[in-house]
Amino acid sequence: MGFSVKLHGVRGSRPKQHKDLLGFGGNSTSIEFKVDEDFYLFLDGGSGLAARGRELTSIPPKSEFHFLITHTHWDHLLGLPFFEPFFGNNKVVFHAATTKKSSFEKLFAGLMDPAHLPVPITEFKAQFAFNVVHPNVCYKIGEHVKIMTYQLNHQGITLGYRVEYKGAAAVVITDNAPIEKANWMGESMQQDAQGRGAEFENEFNAGLVQFLAGADLVIFDTHFTEATLKPDWGHSTPPRALAFCKQAGAKRLILFHHAPEDMDPAVEAKVKSVITDAKAANIEVYAAQEGYEWKVA
């Protein structure tokens, strides 16, 4: 036991079944922080969550669940209606930001709209609760699990999460476009920037470095390569992720949010593209692989 992070879904945009990507996996974002507490702690609810739910069943060993929600794009939510523990008498708390237009509670209700749900709504016997979290907050779940948030550069409000437990830290940055030279900012970021340009960019990037500082494990969006980068799509690249980790003195970098177009060799090539630089900086770098569990403490 201790503290580990298990990856149930590593793919960005949408889940994809294809024979040539199963080495790293085709399920969309679902991450579990395994802690010695009387609750389960998940991040997002992409398709990878469904299979994990079948393992846990509707009567899991522990009856309390916490979900850290990064944002409400479909690839991060679509597994939730198929998570079997929701069919049992369990307690579920969603930790999520409120967007300019809507609360997560409302958006969850929209997701679970009986008019499009493939599952009878009467099956959902769990009690759902909603904890509104803001960027740059620090709080605890239970007595020992410390959560910190940071607003990322993506559409709407998207949060990065830092989880500290047993003296170790794991940080997850699922979706984040580079901010530099006024290239592109999501609408929430534009509001924060208030036309301050370069000053805001430096502030954001320094803040992100601080957020990652000394982390034992960093899971970072590397959807694109430098050659394929589309800044306004809200995603990053391996060299950008590594640059942040270097400045932050992070120990391990896990390249994450693989593009659905990227077959296994393309994902391997992403690791190769930064491995020399990473070694020089004494950072281990790997590609996120579905089903793999990373020991953190």
Partner: protein, 291 residues
């Protein structure tokens, strides 16, 4: 004389995609079926399977694409934003259902809603989008198209008054009936469906659950045995089973099929479990079934 009619399965998985080795043969993308005759094509449902279909059309412009929705459930719609032809203004995409067009549009809109996606609305997508309300038989792309209500499940019906539909496409003398979601229990609605589909050259039928003890009753889906029982009553030339529940593996499907192949009730007809990314030529299918 070969009709050249083909059926291709791009997504065979209900509910939620199941990428992984255990579902590689029969498929792990959410539902999407394509019927082709030369350059004419009809699509039924827009689950994530539709993305790979779209890749085959990526270099074409000026396309007229016809997509029919069997139900407005998440798994039948979620692939539409990832269908490449929707990104080109030279293309026209026709969306069909027997429900009113405002219902069709409202149900699809959640996948183009700014809260849940990077998009600003269905009609802000570059392609021309036309929503159609099917009220009776129609000729579409040279296919005589007809539809009938199916049983979308007693439990589902309580929460969702929007019926599900089966479609029948007649091309020359070939008839393909697609029953994408239907709980085939003895009922008036099932009898009407059997009469509607009678004599189909090829029947595509929901077979979500491998066996009765694995069936979620009232959820609107059939067991393999229920699907084959319908196929026998319909007298289909050949039956392709599809739309497997997320928990079902290839190995479990094969095991059930080994038993059903020996079942005297089903020996008279040809049937197979649909495989994702596999194209079936209609005429050879029937010949094989007859032989």
């Amino acid at each position: 004389m070969e009709s050249g009619l083909k059926i291709r399965f791009w997504g065979t998985r209900l509910g939620v995609s199941t990428p992984g080795k255990a579902t590689l043969e029969h498929g792990g993308n959410t539902p999407c079926v394509q019927i082709l005759s030369g350059k004419k094509l009809i699509i039924i449902d827009a689950g994530f399977g539709i993305n790979a279909l779209g890749e085959t059309l990526a270099t074409h412009r000026g396309l007229d694409i016809h997509i029919f929705f069997s139900q407005f459930l998440l798994d039948r719609m979620q692939g539409l934003p990832f269908f490449l032809p929707i990104y080109f203004p030279e293309n026209t995409i026709h969306l069909y259902s027997p429900h009113k067009t405002d219902i069709l549009q409202k149900r699809l809109e959640i996948f183009f809603d700014h809260n849940y996606s990077p998009f600003e609305g269905l009609h802000k997508m570059p392609a021309n989008i036309h929503c159609h309300n099917l009220t009776r038989q129609a000729m579409i792309e040279g296919f005589k198209t007809d539809f009938i209500e199916v049983n979308h499940g007693a439990k589902m019906a309580q929460q969702n008054p929007l019926a599900g539909f089966a479609y029948k496409f007649t091309f020359g003398k070939d008839v393909i009936t697609v029953v994408a979601g239907h709980e085939a229990i003895d009922s008036d609605i099932n009898q009407r469906l059997i009469a509607f589909a009678r004599g189909s050259t090829v029947l595509v039928h929901d077979a979500a659950f491998p066996t009765k003890n694995l069936q979620f009753t009232g959820w609107g889906h059939s067991t393999i045995e229920q699907a084959l029982s319908n196929a026998a009553q319909i007298g289909a030339g050949h039956t392709l089973l599809t739309n497997y529940a997320p928990f079902v593996t290839d190995a479990e499907l094969h095991q059930v099929m080994r038993r059903l192949r020996q079942d005297p009730r089903f020996t008279g007809t040809g049937f197979a479990l649909a495989k994702e990314n596999t194209e079936y030529d209609v005429v050879p299918l029937i010949k094989r079934a007859a032989g």
